[in-house]
Subunit: 182 residues, 2 copies
C-alpha cells in the first residue's frame, strides 16, 4: 500500500495551488486585494519586467481570477479587477499575512498590520465555525513598526490606487488602506 | 512615484511565501497536518523522488516548520513533526481547501470535505473577528462525492498514519481522518 504512487492531484489544496500557480500570481492577487488595478501600479509594486507581468496577468484572467475591463475609451485603457473567485482568496491572503507577521516579521516588528477599518486598531481574525464572517470592508491595512522605505512606497501605491477608485466610484470593498494610514 | 521599483520583500505575505517556499513544501505541510510523519508516508503521498523529498524535508526543518525526531532507537528511525510555526499554517491550508472546493472541484463535486470531528457533518469555517477560534481537534477530513482512487489512497495513508500515532500516543491534535471516513 505504501508503495502506491500518486501526486494527489485530486486534493483541493493541490487543485487550488495549481490554479493560483506561482508565488508571483499570489503576489498579484495580494496587490489586487490591496486595491491595485492598473498595469503600471502592479509593475511599480512588483518590479518585474513588463512582458513577464503581462504574461502573469493574462494567466490570472484565463484562470478566472482577474477580469480585464476598459476604464477609458479614448485612449483605450484597461484595468484588472478581481472576480468573485479572486476576491474569495482573501482568507488565504489574510491567513498568510497573520502567519507572516507572527513567524517572519523583522526584529523591529511587523511591517504591515491588519486593522479595523473603523477604529484603526490592530485585529487578528481567526477561523471560526460560528462567528460572523469577516467582511472585506471591515478591514484595512496600516504600516507597522517594522515598515521601511519599501513598505511606505507600497502604501503610497495603495493610496494612489484608492484615490483613482474613489474618483471613479465613491465606495469600494477592497482590502483598502484607510486615508489615515501611512 | 509609479516608477519606483521594489519587489516588496517587506510584505508579510511575501515573507510567508518566501519561507514556505515552493508549492511542494506546502503540500508536505498539508500532509503533515493530515497526520503523516514518516518519510515513506510522505513519499507515497507525494510520489516524488526520495532525494528530492529528502531535500525538501531538510529545508522545512531548517525553516523551523518541521522537526525531526527519533521514534525508534534500534533501529534508529526518524519522523517529521510540525512545530508550532508549522501547525499555525493550518488556517492557510483550511482556506486553500475551502477555496479549492468552491472554485476548483471536479464536476462530480469536492473530493475532500472538511467535517466536524464529532458529528461528521461538513463544515465551512470562516474568518471572523469575534467567533471562538477553530481548534484543530474539532475538525476532520472525509472523502467527498468527487473522490476517486487517488483520494481514497490518500485517506488510506492518513488512516495508516493515524493508527501508528494512536499506537504511540492515545490522543492527537492533528487534522486527522476519523475512523468512520473513507
Amino acid at each position: 500500500m505504501q508503495r502506491t504512487r500518486f501526486d494527489n492531484r485530486e486534493c483541493p489544496v493541490a487543485q487550488a495551488l495549481e490554479i493560483i500557480g506561482e508565488w508571483w500570481s499570489l503576489l498579484i492577487v495580494r496587490d489586487a486585494l490591496r486595491g491595485l488595478r492598473r498595469f503600471e501600479a502592479f509593475q511599480a509594486s512588483l518590479g518585474i519586467a513588463r512582458n513577464m507581468l503581462s504574461r502573469r496577468l493574462k494567466a490570472l484572467v484565463a484562470a478566472g481570477i482577474l477580469e480585464k475591463r476598459a476604464y477609458s475609451e479614448r485612449p483605450l485603457r484597461h484595468e484588472y479587477r478581481l472576480t468573485a473567485k479572486g476576491r474569495e482568496l482573501m482568507p488565504v491572503m489574510v491567513s498568510l499575512l497573520i502567519w507572516g507577521n507572527r513567524w517572519a516579521a523583522p526584529a523591529a516588528g511587523p511591517t504591515t498590520l491588519l486593522v479595523d477599518r473603523a477604529t484603526g486598531q490592530p485585529i487578528e481574525p481567526r477561523l471560526s465555525l460560528t462567528g460572523p464572517p469577516l467582511r472585506p470592508d471591515e478591514i484595512s491595512l496600516a504600516t507597522g513598526p517594522g515598515a521601511g522605505a519599501e513598505m511606505r512606497a507600497a502604501f503610497a501605491l495603495m493610496r494612489a490606487a484608492a484615490n483613482e477608485r474613489r474618483a471613479a466610484a465613491p465606495r469600494s470593498a477592497n482590502l483598502d488602506v484607510s486615508s489615515k494610514t501611512g
